[in-house]
């Protein structure tokens, strides 16, 4: 009997506590929901009117706001000089405009802040003529306003701002990770960026080095850039985010904090409105951007970037709160089968490549036949269809087709290295004969190493199984934590086979074939990596960089790639990445081939 009382008391307690937590609900739910969407204070009044007089059937309208998602984690920076990752650069591309702007579909070099440019006779010096009357703007809490100087005059973007921004990127004190890209292209940068005993130099010496950098404002709207060589990709580099106009007055006042919301000043089609770190960033249309052919005035009022994990973002998409989302690999099959979602699905190329590298000095892959055998034995189609499942494209060479200078698949279906079990066995036999083994089992052990990740593990295990099935070689598969791994593959202890990926900085073969695999590159460092040096390869990629005939360039890179993946087979290309996205049907959008979207060209059908 007593215990019965207890249950009642406890039950009541539980019920009350539940009620209490539910009671936090104020009665006019809808008002608050709407308010958070609109944000401004005055809209509250409007809402009250709406609830008081239920308006009759006017067509329901959407907010002119696009909701998209970045990956989890905060956007690292909005400072053009410091951006290294896709999300940072994506926002920078909307807040600022480069001297030139790459067309997102054709990858053609369109005018950006430069209306036109002249090229000197030696092909190394560009003179850019800048767009006039573009003001610096900032979000003042209520609206986007023009930035004024101390005398109350509007500050316009000038060639001096570009000179300042670029020089700030390559200033050793800035410590920009991407400054080296300018170092390889722009005159005078390496002397400045890599100056010895920087801290011991006098101010005059530092200034002299700074003046030596090959960028100079001739007047407010004329900018001269001097490059090291006459190269096809120089204009691409001039348009990169590391060479943008930056507000000197602001940076000198606020230091590293200048790109934070509240301070941030920009001049592109959008301006930074809000940035709740780790959560959501909002950019709002800049009414002072006049619109040019390559960068029109935006149609969509605001863009909200949520920083969500893929599955969280996809749930938001399904709930109707995001307009665009990436599909998590676990959901791809379901999306393809779903009649509605499959209509919204687009698998588009992405500027990234996934590959394995060989340590060409380590047995058994110190022999080219062995490397070719391993490469032939990987059934790439099987791998992308049954293991990775993201619609990736099997890669026969490294340079992502679609980038300027890269070979195309269509005219060369058998080019590079293909997947071929018979060839693999034949190459293995050649290897056995060349080394003088009497039996396959004498082949020394192949170690395959990847960085710790579920995805890489699946791929490695699948490839190990293919090698075992086709060649009878059972590699040992090991993994290491990311940064430990990077250290390992760039040391003397680099394993027989290792994995890495590469994503574009600018869409040109030079950024792929040369910057990754010529000696000293990311995949072929001085110590470790491929441990590979081929003079022919080095010469070809050097010549191809300055070749001006685009057709000839493709041929040259094709030749280099052939050395890389077939003749020397130092690299085992696996696949080219794709972006697997769903987009709501009421979004009119463009698809970008260089990894960054130009939202000013998008629009929403506002009527529901």
């Amino acid at each position: 009997m007593y215990s019965k009382k207890w249950t009642i008391v406890l039950g009541a307690l539980l019920a009350v506590s539940m009620l209490l937590s539910a009671c936090a609900t104020p009665t006019p739910e809808e008002i608050i929901i709407e308010v958070t969407k609109i944000v401004e204070g005055e809209t509250v009044v409007e809402q009250v009117v709406v609830t008081a007089t239920p308006e009759p059937a006017a067509a329901e309208m959407r907010d002119n706001v696009l909701h998209v998602s970045f990956g989890p984690g905060d956007v690292p920076t909005l400072d053009p000089s410091l951006g290294t990752d896709t999300s940072s650069i994506q926002v920078v591309e909307e807040l600022t405009i480069g001297l030139v702007r790459l067309h997102e579909e054709t990858l053609a070099v369109d005018p950006g802040m430069a209306v036109s440019w002249d090229l000197s006779d030696d092909g190394q010096t560009y003179t850019f003529h800048l767009l006039e009357g573009i003001p610096w703007v900032r979000w003042n809490g209520n609206s986007v306003e023009e930035v004024l100087d101390a005398d109350g005059n509007v500050r316009y973007v000038t060639a001096h701002d570009f000179e300042y921004g670029t020089k700030r990127t390559v200033d050793p004190d800035t410590g920009s990770s991407y400054a080296y890209v300018l170092g390889m292209a722009l005159a005078g940068v390496e002397e400045y960026l890599y100056a010895e005993n920087w801290n011991d130099l006098t101010d005059e010496e530092k200034a002299a080095l700074r003046d030596g950098v090959g960028i100079k404002a001739l007047d407010d709207y004329t900018l001269e850039m001097t490059f090291l060589t006459k190269a096809a990709y120089n204009l691409n580099i001039a348009g990169m985010w590391v060479a943008r106009a930056e507000p000197q007055w602001l940076i000198e006042e606020k230091g590293d904090r200048w790109s934070e919301p509240g301070f941030s000043q920009s001049y592109g089609p959008y301006a930074l409105k809000e940035w709740v770190h780790d959560s959501v960033m909002t950019i709002v249309v800049n009414p002072f951007w006049p619109g040019i052919e390559s960068v029109p005035q935006p149609i969509i009022e605001e863009i909200q970037f949520s920083m969500l994990d893929q599955s969280a973002a996809f749930a938001e998409y399904e709930a109707g709160n995001l307009e665009v989302a990436a599909v998590p690999s676990a959901d791809i099959d379901r999306v393809k089968a779903d009649p509605m979602l499959s209509e919204e699905l687009i698998i588009a190329p992405d500027g990234c490549a996934y590959y394995y590298g060989f340590n060409t000095e380590k047995a058994p892959v110190d022999n080219v036949h062995m490397r070719r055998a391993l490469s032939y034995a990987v059934d790439r189609t099987d791998l992308v269809e049954n293991v990775t499942k993201g619609g990736q494209q099997p890669a026969q060479w490294f340079c992502r087709p679609g980038m300027a200078g890269c070979p195309y698949i269509d005219p060369h279906p058998g080019f590079g290295i293909t997947s071929n079990a018979d060839e693999a066995k034949a190459e293995l036999a050649l290897h056995v004969a060349a080394v003088g083994y009497t039996d396959d089992s004498e082949i020394s052990e192949v170690q395959l190493m990847h960085n710790t990740s579920e995805g890489h593990k699946k791929i490695a295990e699948a490839i190990a199984e293919m090698w075992h099935e086709t060649l009878g070689i059972q590699p040992t598969v090991t993994n290491q934590e990311w940064k430990v791994y990077l250290k390992t593959i760039r040391s003397e202890d680099v394993p027989t086979v290792w994995r890495l990926g590469w994503c574009l900085d600018y869409p040109d073969a030079n950024n792929f074939t040369r910057e990754v695999f010529s000696k000293g590159g990311s995949g072929n460092p001085e110590v470790g990596g491929l441990n590979w040096l081929n003079e022919d390869f080095e010469q070809i990629v050097l010549d191809a960089a300055v070749e001006s005939d685009p057709v000839k360039r493709v041929e040259m890179y094709a030749e280099a790639e052939n050395i890389l993946v077939y003749e020397d087979a130092a690299v085992l290309p696996i696949y080219w990445y794709t972006m697997v996205n769903v987009t709501k049907p009421y979004v009119n959008r463009t698809y970008s081939n260089h990894g960054h979207d130009y939202y000013e060209k998008w629009s929403l059908e506002l009527e529901k």
């Binding site: 249950t7 307690l13 990770s177 780790d278 959560s279 994990d309 599955s311 109707g320 990077l486 890495l500």
Partner: protein
């Protein structure tokens, strides 16, 4: 009691000091640095970056610099509240000087932010979620445990313990997406992800939107997902402990002298049975705070949990130090609270 608390706080400083040393040594012993990345940087660039963050100095000097920044108040001419080189405590002194104290350093992976910023903007969100989750855990777990114990071996007991076992064996990583799918995607009752409060916060961690449905609708699912797991632990512990106490002699005595069953259970049994429960609540709260990584990821909550993982994978040294010290700080503080609660629950426990 007062003396005891002061003593404990002094000990806390020593504990934090030792922890900071061990953490510092361990994180520098791990191979790879903050600037090791897939696109290998030229050595000169790495040198520039290391110089910027004093990583080129000998370790002992780096450590002393860190301790100096965190512990020693500095007097400076400029306020610099908007610069990255900023302090948690800043007091304006006469003569245009500023006293600045507690600077946990920059974040290497996000140049415009500092560890102080993470403490100001991300930690409060985790505390909010942590506190609400604990409330959920206790409101579910405690009654469940008490009912199961009082109705031992009846259908209520089995039911209660089944719920508890379900809670233990259903990790957030599975429960989160299921909740999201049901309430966020299918029914559209609750927002699938996000958080209903943003900085600045009142009194360090109280959200300004506390009274609004918008705050609570973002809170329900994650707090429930975290809370049920912990409620199961609380329920099982309460049940075991209460069962033990119920069979003690003094309970029989209490009954024998004619006290009502309600008084016996609340005043004599439950109060004693709660001691082990309270013991785990302290570390549990600290654990909830730092263990929010998964739930924050699943529900897209801008909390601190993720920094425990990402700071280590990024080798973001100041963030690692800050996160670990913060965790240690909460652990010590919550243990002090536990000790004080002991004295309240059991008058025999005294610290003087």
């Amino acid at each position: 009691m007062g003396r005891y608390i002061v003593q404990r706080f002094l000990w806390m400083f020593i504990v934090l000091f030792v922890i900071s040393m061990i953490t510092f040594a361990m994180m520098h012993a791990v191979p790879g640095g903050p600037f090791t990345q897939e696109k290998a940087l030229p050595p000169e660039i790495i040198a520039n970056l290391e110089k910027r963050y004093h990583l080129n100095e000998p370790y002992w000097k780096q450590y002393l610099l860190y301790i100096d920044n965190v512990m020693v108040p500095h007097i400076s001419k400029d306020a610099a509240p908007e610069m990255v080189d900023e302090a948690l405590v800043e007091i304006s002194l006469p003569g245009g000087n500023y006293l600045r104290w507690i600077n946990f350093g920059p974040s290497y992976s996000s140049r415009s932010r500092t560890v102080n910023d993470i403490f100001r903007e991300q930690l409060p969100v985790s505390i909010q979620l942590g506190v609400i989750s604990m409330v959920v855990a206790i409101t579910i777990g405690l009654p469940l445990g008490v009912i199961s114990a009082l109705k031992q071996n009846t259908i209520w007991d089995f039911l209660g313990m089944s719920v508890a076992i379900f809670g233990v064996s259903m990790p957030v990583v599975a429960m989160g997406p299921i909740l999201i799918w049901i309430f966020g995607v299918a029914l559209k009752w609750l927002p699938p992800t996000g958080w209903g409060a943003k900085p600045p916060f009142t009194l360090f961690f109280i959200p300004n939107t506390l009274g609004s449905w918008d705050f609570w609708k973002h809170t329900l699912m994650p707090a429930f997902a975290v809370g049920t797991g912990y409620s199961a632990i609380i329920a099982r512990l309460t049940r075991a402990s209460l069962l033990q106490v119920i069979h003690e002699d003094y309970i029989r005595t209490a009954r024998a002298k004619g006290l009502s069953e309600r008084i016996v259970t609340t005043r004599h049994a439950l109060r004693n049975a709660l001691i082990p429960v309270v013991t785990i609540l302290g570390p549990m709260f600290a654990g909830v705070l730092t263990g929010l990584f998964v739930v924050e990821q699943v529900f897209g909550i801008p909390g601190m949990g993720k920094y425990f993982i990402t700071s280590i994978t990024n080798r973001d040294y100041p963030v690692i130090m800050g996160a670990i010290l913060m965790y240690a700080f909460f652990l010590v503080i919550s243990n002090v609270f536990v000790d004080i609660t002991y004295a309240w629950l059991d008058p025999r426990i005294r610290y003087d």
